[in-house]
Amino acid sequence: MTLRARLRPVQFLVWAVLTACALILVEYSYSRQASAGERLTVARITEGLTCQCGCGLTVSNCNHPTCGFAVPLRDDIDKMIAKGMSADQITAFYRRKYGEKILSAPTTEGFNLLAWIMPFAAIIAGGGLIALRLGRWRTAPVQEAEQIVPLFDDDLRRRLESDLKDGL
């Protein structure tokens, strides 16, 4: 007897989804551990800093081979890593030197927090609206009893039969 046959469909689905979530959680915790022990590289830090040469890219990605800003900065960061400075210390150093504009993402404090919150707030609000609307739709009386539209196979079967009847 197959696994699917032994489990009722709902149970099967619930278990499948729970297994997937558990797998993702395990993977997530592993990845957190991995990133905590990850070697500090120039690229990792310069991804978080914006080049000030006008290219609009991060220091890591600046496409000017002889950029007067990105090239010396990368060298300096290399030396800071060799001295044992942490990523946070290096980033804080450049923030003090150039101001917030050098960070390639908004900080998570004060007004900047809005940058991070708003997209998710908007989606949650939109989802809430849909849920409310769906709730209203679901509780509204159905005008006439209709047969539930058959699922894929029957739908496809009808279309195929129609194709064949039309000689297509």
Binding site: Y30, F111, L151
Partner: protein, 671 residues
């Protein structure tokens, strides 16, 4: 020729204004003569803008430096192909090109609707002409492509070196085609609101326009990414630059529209939402143009600050207010009697798909304008770059991919748990198994694991869908597997073309995950004859060769790539110096395979010490990003392919109206 171009643009502006009057007057008075006259005016307007295009191309090809535009964006030594493409390499030329596309599309819409949609088409054409008037007014009064320069220079300043690349020959035209063609569905939506004819006639009239626009937006974004990959030399293809974002937002909204419109066609629901989406998609194209040309936000793509910003912003505000007012005015008659009965229905899945797509578009918009907001509120200039967009959009993209798998296999109206289990068992197993295999292969990043698992889940849903369809055809018609597959796609091209697009999306998504999470970057200075390792490859620097011609000086390094004892490639990264604008540029060498791309940049060289510095990226799976794009393109062509049965259904639906119209309206061009 320049005077002819100027004159042609002035006449085109007058013709656009006349066509608005004739269309509106003709529709209100039910006058076939005026409507025919309006069509002729539109076609003449297109001819005039074509003459202006020819005049500017003539100036560029003959190096007529009496024209400011030619002197600023071309030179005598510029290769001919780039003299042609420099037409859209600058502010005035690109606006002229935009206007040209717009007048072509307006002409096509006028031709298509000469006998169809008599109630809304004249108003739609009038709306398109209003948009044309804005662009033509810019060209006539604000940013003139035929302005003279004094004193006349002996030589031109040349085209920006970054634009001297073959992708620039097709990236801007594709993107502009996508942008501009969105005007047609927007205009028909607006016309439906103006006239109150709010059935789905406007959707039927513009379904192909919307897909066409989406197709070119997709290509435009992909070509732009490929251009960045080959030209900018940083090993990536997408930097969340404001102008990239500006091209991405309409694509997201148009994708949402193409999905939600299916609910209106099938269930007569979401009328307001669909009208809002198409209005938003159009507004975002204007917003993108505003971003590129206003100088409000710094970007690698921006044209020089031109003072066009206020005009575009004003136009954008007028469009948004007018369209919103129309939507509110008609909201009473846009309510649908149909209902969504269950969360477990395709309608609900499509709604959530729309929510995520528009949510991502909002996140991109928000991140793009946040620096301006921060400066206005706090007086502090900040940057919102890739780390922000990746963190915010990453989880949303996973949600979107999940819904992409759910939507097509869930039933309309209501699914039962048994149906769900039957449809999703195989895809779920496939997704979990893929995650487990990738985990066992040593991948530990949760996002990459989830992404690959979800991609496999979606692939599973599509495989199930195809397998059932093919199985049913084989059973009912006794066809071979190959024939059943071909017939399945041909007879239901919208549905199965859509699935092929979905396959393209997940293939591209896998490419994005691979290239984003597993890239190796090595920078090394070596003398000629020395080697260094990058992943499994050994990079052996052989020599540097320098050359020069009238246009450029170049230094090309020869690099031998080996893997073990096997020589796999001879690569030639280089540095190019453009003489006229006195600018250096990078010539990247790429060896692409389905497993990974080896991307070699010559970052610098010292002839005295015979040393060269290389930056080498080994990027897994990036090949599949482009392959996915190709699949999306193929799928879209299949979706757009004329379908005999669908045409018959539309003809039947429109039959009565069309017959009446043919009976009352003269032949095209007739009086």
């Amino acid at each position: 020729m320049a005077d002819l171009g100027k004159l042609a643009l002035a006449i085109a502006l007058i013709l656009a204004a006349y066509s608005i009057f004739a269309n509106v007057y003709g529709a209100r008075r039910n006058s076939p003569d005026f409507l025919a006259s309006a069509r002729h005016a539109i076609w003449a307007m297109c001819a005039m803008v074509t003459i202006a295009m020819a005049a500017l191309w003539n100036g560029l090809l003959t190096s007529d430096f009496t024209l400011d535009y030619v002197a600023s964006h071309s030179s005598t030594t510029l290769p001919t192909i780039y003299k042609i493409t420099s037409l859209w390499g600058g502010q005035e030329g690109s606006l002229l090109f935009w206007s040209w596309l717009l007048t072509i599309f307006t002409s096509i819409a006028a031709f298509q609707n000469r006998r169809r949609n008599p109630e809304i088409a004249p108003y739609a054409l009038a709306v398109m002409a209003v948009v044309a008037i804005f662009f033509l007014a810019m060209l006539n009064f604000v940013t003139r492509p035929f302005s003279p320069i004094s004193p006349v220079p002996v030589e031109g300043a040349d085209l920006n070196p970054l634009l001297q690349n073959y992708w620039m020959a097709i990236h801007p035209p594709s993107l502009y085609t996508g942008y501009v063609s969105s005007t047609a569905p927007f205009a028909f939506g607006a016309a439906a609101l103006i006239t109150g004819k709010l059935d789905d006639a406007w959707i039927r009239a513009t379904r192909r326009w919307a897909i066409f626009s989406w197709f070119f937006l997709t290509l435009g974004n992909l070509f732009g990414a490929r251009w960045a990959y080959e030209v900018l030399g940083w090993g990536g293809y997408w930097a969340w630059d404001p102008v990239e974002n500006a091209a991405f937002m309409p694509w997201l909204v148009m994708t949402a529209y193409l999905h939600s419109v299916m609910i209106q066609e099938r269930k007569d629901m979401l009328k307001v939402w669909n009208l809002a989406l198409i209005g938003l998609a159009f507004a975002l194209t204007i917003f993108g143009t505003f971003l590129t040309r206003s100088g409000v936000i710094s970007s690698v793509h921006s044209f020089t600050q031109s003072g066009l910003g206020p005009y575009f912003l004003s136009f954008l505000i007028v469009v948004v207010i007018a369209y919103t007012a129309l939507l509110i005015f008609r909201s009473g008659v846009l309510r649908s009697p149909a209902e969504i009965e269950s969360y477990l229905s395709r309608e609900a899945a499509f709604l959530f798909n729309n929510l995520v797509l528009v949510g991502i578009a909002f996140a991109v918009f928000w991140g793009t304008i946040f620096p301006v907001l921060s400066e206005a509120v706090r007086g502090v200039k900040i940057t919102v770059g890739p780390p922000f967009f990746n963190k915010v959009n990453g989880p949303l993209a996973l949600g979107l991919i999940f819904l992409m798998g759910v939507g097509p296999l869930i039933a309309w109206r209501r699914s039962t748990p048994a149906n769900l289990a039957r449809n999703f068992a195989i895809p779920l197993i496939l997704g979990i198994a893929t995650g487990a295999i990738v985990f066992l292969e040593g991948v530990r990043q949760w996002y990459a694991l989830s992404g690959f698992s979800l991609a496999a889940f979606v692939a599973g849903t599509i495989i199930v869908e195809f397998a059932r369809g093919i199985g049913a055809r084989r059973h009912l018609a006794g066809e071979t597997a190959a024939r059943a597959t071909a017939n399945l796609i041909a007879k239901n091209n919208r549905r199965y073309g859509g699935y092929i697009i979905h396959v393209g999306v997940i293939v591209a998504f896998a490419g994005i995950i691979g290239s984003a999470f597993f890239k190796i970057d090595v920078k090394k200075s070596v003398r000629a004859g020395e080697s260094f390792a990058v992943g499994p490859y050994s990079i052996h620097y052989l020599k540097l060769e320098e050359s020069a011609d009238a246009h450029i000086e170049s230094a090309i390094a020869q690099v031998e790539v080996t893997r073990g004892d096997e020589e796999v490639a001879l690569m030639t990264p280089g540095r190019v110096f453009y003489k006229r604008p006195q600018q250096p540029a990078t010539k990247v060498a790429i060896r692409s395979t389905p497993l990974s791309d080896l991307y070699v940049v010559l970052a610098g060289f010292d002839e005295d010490t015979n040393t060269a510095t290389f930056e080498v990226f080994l990027t897994p799976l990036v090949f599949w990003l482009w392959a996915g794009g190709l699949l999306m393109a193929i799928g879209t062509v299949i979706v757009m392919w004329p379908n005999v049965r669908e045409r018959a259904a539309i003809a039947a639906a429109l039959g009565r109206t069309a017959e009446d119209q043919i009976a009352t309206e003269p032949a095209p061009g007739g009086q």
